[in-house]
């Protein structure tokens, strides 16, 4: 999509860089509050993590401290018609996390108890109970953690729904425009230069929501934060007769397994592929494909009837403490970040909305996500 520039350059109230779930949600709530908003992406919108992730809504796998946010994010997905304008097909299901060894059972109890304390309705159930809830699971399990508040979304429906909502909200969408530089211009906020665009765009505020590509841009604002890029493997099968009804995982969090309404089964869990964000190329590691799929087949033995349809890799960003970055980057309160949220698809819309509220003058508690926690010298200024 291209933008027509007129005689006098437009100054946006906010320019959001990175059109995934978080950036697009921030953009949407800012625009609905009356701000003039542009949303920029290095490629087409929703094509990175937000477009290729497993679509899991999970409290088992999210970080314990983020449970309250994940619960709110999940609710937003289930009610997407209300705030996004259309139903994206989110389905509420229970979630079962399983243990097959003694060590896994210990881990399961430990992880469940921490999550219970953070408000997740998770309880430990016996193997028999687990099999009665989910007859397709391997009866050799020792115990399971049951959570009533899980679910999943057919991820492919999300991008188009956001595209229509953004258009409706009057947001200027600039795709296939990698950001080359961001600089301050007195009285005009930030000047942002985009590859392939002769003229820079200007915004009073800028929001970075570029996921795996955050590190370099944070550096432009003096935040030296090392962002690790996870290259998560996903596997989808052809349609099968129903073999499961809930979201399944294992105690250590390294499996997510669900069956969509069309019958296809999606196998994820964060097994790693190879690649780097500069070259853009990613590659499946055969041993990890085998390991991930073996784990899935162990958990649901009937997957031995499945055909593997496609394997792909999605990028996820992680800070050194594996906690999100949400908040202001400058003392002037004119640059912000939202990202690096573990299980970011579950909480994503809520995190994006929180940042929009913060920008609009509300005071949500974002202290645990303050980007200045990694840079002692600037820690005090950004909190002002």
């Amino acid at each position: 999509m291209t933008v027509a520039f007129h005689e006098s350059p437009v100054i946006y109230d906010a320019i959001i860089i990175g059109a995934g779930v978080m950036g697009a949600t921030t953009a949407l709530f800012l625009a609905r509050a009356g701000l003039k908003v542009a949303l920029v992406d290095r490629q087409d919108m929703f094509r990175a993590a937000s477009g290729v992730n497993a679509g899991t809504l999970t409290l088992h796998m999210t970080r314990a401290q983020l449970i309250p946010h994940a619960i709110r994010g999940r609710e937003m997905w289930l009610n997407s018609a209300e705030w996004l304008g259309e139903d994206v097909g989110a389905l509420a299901t229970p979630g079962l996390s399983m243990a097959f060894t003694e060590a896994e059972e210990d881990l399961l109890r430990q992880r469940a108890s921490v999550r219970q304390n953070m408000g997740a309705p998770i309880e430990i159930i016996s193997a028999e109970k687990a099999v009665s809830i989910e007859p397709g699971v391997n009866p050799r399990l020792r115990a399971a953690a049951y959570c009533a508040l899980d679910g999943h979304i057919p991820t492919y429906r999300v991008g188009g729904a956001y595209a229509r909502a953004l258009k409706e909200a009057g947001i200027t969408l600039i795709e296939n425009a990698p950001v080359e530089s961001i600089s301050s211009v007195r009285g005009q906020g930030h000047e942002i230069r985009l590859t392939g665009h002769a003229r820079a765009i200007h915004g009073r505020r800028v929001v970075l929501s570029t996921g795996a590509w955050l590190e370099k841009m944070l550096g432009w604002f003096g935040h030296d934060i090392s962002i690790r890029c996870l290259i998560n493997q996903l596997v989808v099968t052809e349609t099968l007769p129903p073999v499961m009804g809930s979201v399944l995982s294992i105690a250590n969090g390294l499996l997510s397994l669900k069956q969509f309404a069309n019958g296809s089964v999606l196998i994820g869990g964060g097994w790693q592929g190879e690649g780097n964000i500069r070259d853009g190329g990613t590659r499946v590691i055969p041993e990890n494909l085998q390991g991930n799929v073996r784990l899935a087949q162990h958990v649901v033995p009937r997957l031995n009837e499945a055909q593997i349809l496609r394997v792909w890799l999605g990028l996820e960003s992680e800070t050194p403490d594996a906690m999100p970055l949400i908040g202001a980057l400058t003392p002037d309160d004119d640059a912000f970040v939202v990202g690096c949220v573990h299980s970011g698809f579950t909480s994503g819309p809520y995190m994006g909305r929180l940042l929009a509220e913060r920008i609009l003058g509300a005071d949500p508690d974002l202290s645990a996500f303050n980007p200045s926690r990694f840079s002692p010298s600037s820690a005090t200024r950004a909190q002002l």
Partner: protein, 473 residues
């Protein structure tokens, strides 16, 4: 000349180009493995006939040519791995295979991709009924399977295959109800003027057309199959005029075969990351190669129709030249020997190439059909995605093929977009008034075809699984 490199070469595809290249490479003293997905080598044109087909189909050039090729392979030093498919590869060219004995890998080697062509399709109402096959598919069913698609067949689409398939139906005692060609009659006449350049092929084409005309078979030029409806005994087919879409003809037949020319198979080359370009004459994506099949990847060569559709005679010459080029690049033969070995093949190659390029627009004559599809026509057969769904997504801002796929599932199914990419592209470029380059092409993903999950998992116990360390609390 540097030290000769005698490390292994892998040829993917045992058709005319691949088999010729493999034999020539092994004559240069290189250890060669030839992989082919069929139970015998020969590719599509020289597909080995079943014993039933040998009884029912009159002897022909394809049978004898294929037998000779298989005989040559059998007496060569080429290691032939049949019923084996490549389902993935790495940038360093490790090949992932699935064969009769399950999963296997070939470590990085020089790879010659000779996996030929895929047929191009444009949809119409009812094209998913089992009475409809591809045009090349009908030919394979007859030549390899000795079986007619139906006792009466409507043959539709574009390119020389139309007349070849119609001729095959007659030869087997079937009835050709009608021939529906999206090209102009004048294009065929112009091609005839090039007879001196490729006399064997064009003479054969002329003979087919003459026989079909004598048989009184109706031929509609500038027309296309627009609908197929199941009846008690077969199909009711609607033929529409390309220039006056409101003008129709109707035919009934037991079956219909429809295809709109060939395009190079590019899943392997796209996954390898070599440079591709859109050939507007052919209307397809092809890897960028030099005359010998070298690509932007130093160890990957592409030969035969996989490098651009030129037909069998060119495929054989390309296979030969590619093999000599590999030998030269490996330091096995000096530049002078390469020049003398390739002088004659390259001369023929240039002459035939000129004719073949003239045929591309004929094969590509259906390109406007995809753009005009009615909203309720299924475009993506696998996911049953209709033209109207694609148009809605385009209106929402999906302006390239991958975004269109991401939002609609078009091309996400088992065929990985092989059947729908051309019509999705035609629809997209028309709606956005954009170029095929702007529309792009579907990102290639592994596996290239669905893999039985158990072929990946094999026999294992829980303790065999290398569980990574737990995710952060």
């Amino acid at each position: 000349m540097s030290k000769p490199d005698r490390s292994p070469v892998t040829v993917i595809g045992g058709g005319v180009a691949g088999s010729t290249a493999a034999i020539a490479l092994s004559r240069h003293g290189l250890p060669v493995t030839l992989i082919d997905e069929q139970p015998s080598a020969g590719g599509q044109i020289f597909r080995a006939p079943s014993s039933y087909a040998r009884q029912t189909v009159p002897p022909n050039h394809e049978f004898s040519g294929g037998d000779a090729l298989r005989q040559k392979l059998a007496t060569s030093n080429v290691r032939v791995r049949l019923s084996t498919r490549v389902w993935g590869l790495s940038p360093s060219l490790t090949l992932d295979l699935l064969g009769p004995d399950g999963m296997d890998q070939i470590p990085p080697s020089t790879v010659v991709v000779a996996n030929g062509a895929t047929e191009r399709f444009f949809p119409f109402q009812g094209w998913t009924t089992p009475r409809i096959t591809g045009l090349a598919g009908a030919s394979i069913l007859m030549r390899n399977g000795g079986t007619l698609p139906g006792q009466s067949v409507v043959v539709a689409g574009s390119g020389p295959l139309l007349f070849s398939v119609a001729h095959q139906v007659l030869e087997m005692g079937g009835k050709v109800t009608a021939i529906i060609d999206s090209g102009n009659r004048a294009d065929w006449t112009r091609l005839g003027a090039m007879l001196t350049l490729d006399s064997s092929r064009l003479t054969q084409a002329a003979a087919w057309m003459l026989r079909l005309r004598k048989a009184g078979i109706p031929v509609h030029h500038r027309s296309f199959l627009s609908a197929a409806e199941e009846t008690e005994t077969g199909l009711l087919l609607t033929v529409s005029d390309m220039d006056h879409p409101e003008r129709h003809h109707f035919y009934t037949a037991e079956a219909a075969a429809c295809g709109y020319g060939l395009k190079p198979s590019t899943l392997i080359t796209r996954t390898a990351g070599v440079q591709h370009r859109y050939d507007s004459l052919g209307g397809y994506l092809e890897p960028v190669t030099d005359v010998a099949g070298r690509t932007s990847h130093p160890d990957l060569y592409v030969t035969g129709d996989a490098a651009g559709i030129r037909g069998m005679a060119v495929a054989r010459l390309r296979g030969l030249v590619t093999a000599h080029a590999v030998a030269h690049d490996r330091g096995l033969i000096p530049a002078k020997a390469y020049a003398s070995l390739t002088r004659t093949p390259l001369r023929h190659l240039r002459r035939l190439d000129a004719v073949s390029r003239r045929m591309l627009p004929l094969m590509n004559a259906g390109r406007t059909i995809g753009a005009r599809l009615p909203d309720d026509t299924i475009v993506c057969r696998c996911e049953r995605v209709k033209a109207g769904t694609l148009r809605t997504a385009i209106q929402s801002g999906a302006e390239d093929l991958n975004q269109l796929k991401a939002w609609t599932r078009c091309g996400m199914g088992p065929c990985q977009g092989r059947m729908c990419e051309d019509s999705a592209r035609a629809l997209l470029t028309t709606a956005c008034n954009s170029t095929p380059e702007e529309a792009g092409s579907f990102t290639a993903r592994i596996p290239f075809f669905p893999l039985p999950l158990t072929s990946v998992t094999g026999d294992f116990s829980y303790s065999d699984i290398p569980l990574p360390k737990a995710a952060p609390l």
